[in-house]
Structure formats: structure tokens, C-alpha cells
């Protein structure tokens, strides 16, 4: 097989190089070419990894969770093949494998760590036969591309049932009813005691993670919450606590289905504005304090997910904590960049927003910071953002009403964002519309408040890429952009 594969790898690499010469730069090009030549290339190249592969999927937090897992595993000396830049469909993962492969059957790395797009998970899992699968959350997202949440849940259930080997580890968010339900059958197969007894190594029952901190519970469920009905019987869940979107402590009054007891959990969570979060991490091996250099409860969930995965891969607790504490912000996720003239530097903090649940967490985190803020909102409606911009009306921008000094709205649907903010209660005279991103950035920069408060950028996905490119081209930011 590899005799035939060799020339195809070379051809795909050449196509990638050509695309880069033409300024394409898309990381998925060589992989796409390779898959055209050899549809099962991902499986073939993946089988070169002696440690197998680990897959991570979720609506929100894939890239950050994978970055945290990589930080943990690399400290343990595990050599990874990892789609770090977030190209998470088949082409991107094929490209990542292609870049690491060499010779007839060699590859640079022992373990594949791949974040995977929700819709591609079943297909890629079938090829890669992962030794561990981490499923983090499911929120409504880009309905024009992903369709209904139930459709994705069904496809994930199929992957867990049909593809995941009996000895593979399944890591699930106990607080997300739709995700936790995916472990129902495997938990039964492993015997009732396995998960509850807290032995992640004993048996192949799922490893559940979750938050247990009543001080974080929200007064009511967010408007845009999904998954309010039991997947088992259809009755509405009762929530004893809601932490984030529909994540929380729930039970079904009709069939008795309830949140599984997590073995990896966070207690005593302390959110420190837009910079950091602290919590006590519990695993079956013990408990430890974690000082996470990333903000918000959503990143605590990402850290728990990465910790549960690392625990399932038998990384000791000290290694998990050290890895989490050394994590750096992933591409455009709470990234910090210095902008402006050297004598008047200003911090620009980039907080990716792409769906209501993710945006709400960013807004909630921003609201923790004192004072009035300057905001640069960039709303694009390209395919990768979702053509449908309805979602901004499900995000709770009201959280920042009365808290903003200046708002610059940019992107292909700049005015739509401006209208959203106006109806959220922002004063219209503080809202500036400038679709052109470069102009919007300079305008926001020119009108800086005394004292150099940070500028918060809330871009959608393609807007985030454009913003980073603009900052890199400006030259003043290389040190901050990794």
C-alpha cells in the first residue's frame, strides 16, 4: 500500500507548496489533494502513529481544549501530531498528517491529537479508530451549516456506538445533558460501579467531567439555551443549577435520567476578569489548585475536559496541573496584542465570538472587568462564520449595556451588529459603523481613552483571521503573536 501512497504524498505536498506560492496559504490544501488521490489517506497515515490518536470535538472550545491537552502531554514527553492551527475538517487533518509523514511508513510523532469539526467527527473517527474520544459540549451554532443540534447529537451517538472500540476511552461533559447521554450505553456495559467508583483506569466506562460550585449558578437559564428535553424520554429536564448555556446539574423527572457523577471536577472556581481563573481540580488521583492563565468559566470547562482526557491517558495529576498552568491562549482566543505607537502602546485583547453560547461567556467575562470599555465588534457573514447572522440576537449583549465608552462595529454585516447593540440598550451616539476593518481599527485606536485602557476586539472567525493578518502586517505585534 505504501508503495502506491508515496507518489501521492509527494504530489499532494507539491500542490500545497504551489498553493502557498500563489499566496493561498490555506493549511487544508495539500490534505484535500491527498484525499482526492487516496480517500482513506487519514486512516493510512494515522495508522503510522504508534500511540494511536485522540479526537476532540465540541461546539465551543475545541482549539483551546486541544491546546491545553497538548501542553499537558508535551510536558510528559509525548511527541504529538496535532492540528494546532485549528484546521479541523478532513482536509486539515490530512494536511497535518501529511506534514509529519516521511519515508515509506514513518511519521514524526507518536500520538495524534486532533480537534475535529462536529460534522466530520463520525467519518474521521471511522478512519482513525481513536484510542480516546473527548466530547465537550453541543450548542446551537451556524444553523445554516450544521443544521439542528439533534442531528449532530445523533451522528455523534452513531460514532460512539459503531466506531469507538471497546477498549477506547470516552471522555464526556457530565454537565451537558446531550453529551453526557452519549455515554449511557457504555456506562452500562462497563458495569454500574466503574464510573461512580472513580476508577478511570478500571474498565472502559466513560470518564465524566463537570463543575460543582453553587456560587457560579445563574439565576435562570440563558435565553438561547438548547437541550432542554431529555434525550431518553422527551420530558423537560429539571435543573438544580445552570452554569453556562444549558450546562449544569439536571435530572429528568419522568424517566429518572440524571447528570452522571463526574470523576474529574472543579470546585471553588474564582474568575479573575478577562485574564485568569482559579479552581480546585479533583481527579481520582487527588486534588490540586490550578491557576489557569485563561479567563472565564468556559475556559474552566476546557481545562476540565483536557484534564479528564489526560487522566484517561494516565497522566499524573501534577503533570496535568503543570500543563494547564503553562497553556497559552490559542489562536484568537483571549489573545493579547500590543498595538499603537511605541510611546502610546495599547493592549488589544482578541476574544473570538461565533455563536450565542460562546459570545455570552465572553460578554459575561468582560462584564467582570471594572469601568467603561472600548469595544471593536467585527461581524462577518462568510461561510466559515455562518451566512446567517441571526445568532447575534440570541447573544446577551445586554450584559454590557451602560458599560461601554465607545463601540466600533465592523465587518461585512457591521450595521446589523450596530442595530443589535442599539436595541441591547447601548447609546447610539457611542456606536460607530465602519465596515472596513483596517479603517475601523485605526478609528478605534485614534479615539483611545486617557490611561490606556485595553481595546477589546470581538471578531467572528474570518474576522479574527483578518484582524490577526492586519496586526501582523502592521509589524508592531510580532512579539505578541505566536
Amino acid at each position: 500500500m505504501s508503495v502506491l501512497l508515496g507518489p501521492k504524498l509527494a504530489l499532494a505536498r507539491a500542490a500545497g507548496a504551489l498553493s502557498q506560492l500563489r499566496g493561498g496559504g490555506a493549511t487544508s490544501v495539500p490534505g484535500k489533494v491527498l484525499m482526492r488521490l487516496q480517500p482513506d489517506a487519514v486512516g493510512l497515515l494515522g495508522s503510522r502513529l504508534v500511540g494511536g490518536s485522540v479526537l476532540i470535538s465540541a461546539t465551543n472550545g475545541k482549539t483551546t481544549t486541544a491546546a491545553m491537552a497538548a501542553a499537558i502531554l508535551e510536558r510528559e514527553g509525548v511527541r504529538l501530531v496535532h492540528n494546532r492551527a485549528g484546521a479541523n475538517m478532513a482536509g486539515g487533518i490530512a494536511s497535518t498528517l501529511l506534514a509529519a509523514a516521511h519515508g515509506r511508513d514513518a511519521i514524526d510523532g507518536e500520538l495524534g491529537l486532533f480537534e475535529v469539526d462536529e460534522l466530520w467527527l463520525a467519518q474521521l473517527a471511522a478512519q482513525l479508530r481513536p484510542r480516546a474520544l473527548l466530547l465537550g459540549n453541543l450548542f446551537r451554532d451556524q444553523l445554516d451549516r450544521y443544521g439542528e443540534l439533534e442531528t449532530i447529537a445523533d451522528s455523534w451517538a452513531g460514532a460512539v456506538r459503531d466506531v469507538l472500540g471497546g477498549d477506547a476511552r470516552l471522555v464526556l461533559n457530565a454537565d451537558d445533558p446531550v453529551v453526557a447521554d452519549l455515554g449511557r450505553e457504555r456506562a452500562g456495559a462497563a458495569g454500574d460501579g466503574a464510573a461512580a467508583a472513580g476508577s478511570a483506569q478500571g474498565g472502559s466506562g466513560p470518564v465524566y467531567f463537570g463543575v460543582e460550585d453553587d456560587s457560579l449558578a445563574l439565576p435562570h437559564m440563558a435565553h438561547a439555551a438548547d437541550a432542554k428535553h431529555c434525550r431518553n424520554c422527551g420530558a423537560p429536564y429539571l435543573f438544580d443549577a445552570v452554569y453556562l448555556g444549558h450546562l449544569g446539574h439536571y435530572r429528568c423527572p419522568s424517566c429518572g435520567q440524571a447528570r452522571p457523577e463526574p470523576t474529574v471536577l472543579a470546585t471553588d472556581v474564582r474568575l479573575e476578569g478577562v485574564r485568569a481563573a482559579r479552581f480546585t481540580l479533583h481527579t481520582p488521583s487527588g486534588k490540586a489548585e490550578v491557576a489557569l492563565p485563561l479567563p472565564g468559566l468556559y475556559n474552566v470547562y476546557n481545562a476540565l475536559a483536557a484534564a479528564a482526557l489526560a487522566h484517561a491517558l494516565e497522566v499524573p495529576l501534577a503533570g496535568i496541573v503543570a500543563g494547564l498552568e503553562s497553556t497559552r491562549a490559542a489562536f484568537g482566543r483571549a489573545e493579547s496584542v500590543m498595538i499603537g505607537a511605541p510611546e502610546h502602546p495599547r493592549e488589544l485583547r482578541i476574544l473570538l465570538v461565533k455563536n450565542p453560547a460562546g459570545a455570552n461567556e465572553v460578554l459575561r467575562t468582560l462584564a467582570l472587568e471594572q469601568g467603561e470599555h472600548d469595544l471593536l465588534g467585527v461581524l462577518n457573514d462568510n461561510i466559515a462564520d455562518g451566512r446567517d447572522v441571526s445568532w447575534i440576537w440570541d447573544a446577551d449583549f445586554e450584559l454590557l449595556a451602560g458599560r461601554l465608552r465607545r463601540v466600533t462595529c465592523s465587518g461585512t454585516r457591521a450595521a446589523e451588529l450596530a442595530v443589535r447593540l442599539k436595541y441591547a440598550g447601548f447609546e447610539p451616539e457611542r456606536i460607530h459603523v465602519q465596515p472596513e476593518l483596517a479603517v475601523a481599527l485605526s478609528a478605534a485606536q485614534a479615539d483611545a481613552p486617557p490611561g490606556g485602557a485595553p481595546l477589546y476586539a470581538l471578531p467572528t472567525y474570518t474576522a479574527m483571521l483578518a484582524l490577526r493578518e492586519l496586526l501582523s502586517a502592521g509589524g508592531q505585534t510580532q512579539s505578541a503573536l505566536s
Partner: protein, 244 residues
């Protein structure tokens, strides 16, 4: 001072395309004009009083939720809605809500959701790609003249108008009811169904005002003018996205 009394049907289930935005626009535009605003949610199993609301809103939902609401509408709310329609209250159904205002929605072989039959339309889910994308339609409201509505559509069902059923408008860009007829939505008196979400009202502010005025029983010219510079830009942006 007059008050616009709005009833949101199943706001916790039928809200998938940011239907909250439509309700928020009605609320704020009333408040800015000193018009009172009262929002009453009416959910599964709750009785509906058709006499105490001026405008009824029904949004879109996932299949499972839409099934639950279809049964409940017939069982507990159909009569009140018909009474409201008879006295010319405004009834607006968007996407899934539009489908439920019709006669029936055939989800597949052997599965048909009944509708409340306020609009003479029938919806059938075809084994074909969903109709997804930006859309612009031209509508005519007699005295109020012609106007353009822009939004986003995303529906698997194809809706067919009954012989005497008027559409809401004519498709300028996009798919519309069935991707073929060139018609979008349906309208009988003040009962309106449409596939346009995005949401609909923030980017079609003239239509939001038409709904407010009609529900209050006044002419739209009697509403105090507002500064709609941002809303007008959003309308242009939505038209541009649809290719106009």
C-alpha cells in the same frame, strides 16, 4: 397612552432563529415612542385568551419542539387564534411558526403535523436539500404601498399556497415558499406567515412599524418618527447580502 399587547407563543421552544430579536424590536420601538408594551408568554398546555392581545408571535423551532407545539396549538390555542384573526388582530408566524399557521406539515411518509388553518397553505418536506440563504422579497400592503423585506431563510419544508391564498410577497432573490413558484410567505388579512428570519424585524424596520400600527389599529403615519439611520444601513446590508 396606548399599549401594544403582544403574546409570544412558546417563546422557550419556538425561538431557534433568534426570534427574540423580533420581539425586542417591537418592545423598544414602542418604548421610544411612549407607547406601552406588554409581553405575555404562552407555553405548552397554557390556555390562550384571544381577546386580550393585539399581536401574536410564533417563531421557529427544532423538529421535536415543533411537533410538541403543533399538537398543543390545536388542543389549547386554535379557537382563540381564530377569534383573534376574526377581529383583525395581527398574527405573525416565522419559519416553523408559518408552517404551523397553515393546514398541515408533512414531515415524511406517514408523519403529518396538523396546522391551525389560519392560512390556506400546505407544507411538505422533500427529500431534497434545505432551502438556505439570504433572501429579499417585494411585498404590497395596499394603502401602505410597496416595500422590500430582506432576511435569511433556512427550511426543509416546501410550502404550497391553496388556490385562493395570497402570498406575502414576490421573491426578488432567494428561494421563497418552495424554491420554484417565486412566491414567499402567505397573508390573509392581518395573519402573516413568512420564512424570513435573520431576524426579520431589526433589518426591516418599516415592517416592524407597520405591524405596531396595524396591531394598535392606527395608520403607520400616526407613529412618531424615530432616527433609523443604523436600521436603514442594516436593511441595505441585508439586501446586499441577498445580492441586491
Amino acid at each position: 397612552m396606548s399599549t401594544l399587547r403582544v403574546c409570544a407563543l412558546y417563546p422557550d421552544l419556538m425561538n431557534i432563529y433568534a426570534d427574540r430579536g423580533n420581539l425586542l424590536v417591537l418592545e423598544r420601538r414602542c418604548a421610544w415612542r411612549g407607547i406601552g408594551f406588554r409581553l405575555t408568554p404562552c407555553g405548552l398546555g397554557e390556555p390562550l385568551d384571544g381577546e386580550v392581545h393585539d399581536l401574536f408571535y410564533l417563531g421557529g423551532g427544532q423538529d421535536r419542539d415543533q411537533r410538541l407545539c403543533a399538537e398543543d396549538l390545536i388542543a389549547t390555542k386554535s379557537e382563540a387564534l381564530h377569534a383573534a384573526a376574526t377581529r383583525s388582530a395581527v398574527i405573525l408566524g416565522v419559519c416553523g411558526g408559518y408552517q404551523l399557521l397553515g393546514r398541515s406539515y408533512e414531515l415524511g411518509p406517514g408523519e403529518q403535523l396538523p396546522g391551525v388553518e389560519l392560512l390556506a397553505v400546505r407544507t411538505v418536506r422533500e427529500d431534497a436539500p434545505r432551502l438556505i440563504g439570504n433572501i429579499a422579497i417585494e411585498v404590497s400592503f395596499g394603502g401602505a404601498g410597496k416595500g422590500v423585506l430582506a432576511g435569511f431563510e433556512n427550511h426543509g419544508g416546501r410550502t404550497h399556497l391553496g388556490t385562493d391564498q395570497a402570498p406575502l410577497g414576490r421573491v426578488l432573490k432567494g428561494h421563497g415558499n418552495d424554491g420554484r413558484s417565486g412566491f414567499e410567505g402567505a397573508r390573509s388579512g392581518n395573519t402573516i406567515g413568512t420564512y424570513l428570519h435573520g431576524p426579520l424585524l431589526p433589518k426591516n424596520i418599516w415592517f416592524a412599524d407597520w405591524l405596531i400600527a396595524t396591531a394598535l389599529g392606527i395608520h403607520v403615519a400616526e407613529l412618531a418618527p424615530l432616527d433609523d439611520a443604523l436600521e436603514d444601513q442594516a436593511h441595505s446590508g441585508a439586501l446586499h447580502a441577498a445580492g441586491i
